[in-house]
Amino acid sequence: MKHVNVTLAQRDMSMLAPLIGGRWVFMAGEAMTPHMFSPVDVIVNTTNGAVRIVSETFDSDFEGGEDDTYARLWISDDVSSLRVARREGNVYVHHRDELIDDVLVVRDTVSAIESGETLWTLTTDVAIVFQLSGSVISIAKGSHHTEMLSVTMARGLKLLEIPDCVDEWQDDLTIRHESSRELIPLATLMADGPR
């Protein structure tokens, strides 16, 4: 069985951690749409600093056969593309001034199973969730396979919907795909180190 890990690095988490305790200012993206889809990146600006949440792709053959393309989240402190986002009018101020109480990571594990045997497993961080004083905002992969990001807002964690996108893999007569999910506070991940 192949097991692939595509999770945030400690370096990424160390850029997110200082945002806790600050206040939300805005989010933006070069091509972020009013429906909250943003290819490649979303800039998060807070009173404690700004980061860019990036979805980049890589090719891998872990499923067997030809390479397919998969998405990986990482964090950058380069927010120079904010200039373009501003020029394009793609700056969104929902939930401005709310306190950032916590940052959490949504970690999904997708498995392909044939006759009870696991063929491969992909463990991947699919979303970064900002728990604000009056709401939650998640910046999530809009696909396991492309650079698309999707922003979702809700009044609380229990109301937050982040699709698992496991239906991007097609089941057939012999192979089925399953997905499981963990919601992990950033502090826990940082204390645990790489899993």
Binding site: V40, E66, S150, M153, A154, D167, Q170
Partner: protein, 128 residues
Amino acid sequence: MGGHSGGGFAAGSPRSPQAFERNASALLRRFPVNQQGLFGVPGRGSTRRLYSDDPAATARYFYDTLGRGGALRRIDRGYIRTFDDGTHVTYRPVSGSDGSPAIQITVRNPNSPLARYQKIHFMKGSDQ
């Protein structure tokens, strides 16, 4: 559940889900899909292959037809077109894996005739 990711979709907009479905209908008139909504023939693994005399032109046609009206952004080695519901089409004239042109189609509408996700490599030749 109360999560949301924006408001309703303006049906007349070129970025609307309806516009994408019109694009898909136009493409399907020339390139049929199988029962699973997949173009071409199976490659090795989960990707698809679509054979033609001019793979570069065929890939470009796919991208131009399916992506028409979608919001454009450059991505690594290619382009992405996004529609209001999050449906998107990526196009890489030279893919990182084998150098062939490649298209990824990710569809949000569960009633679309196209599969939820597919990656197609455009190859020279025939699948016969």
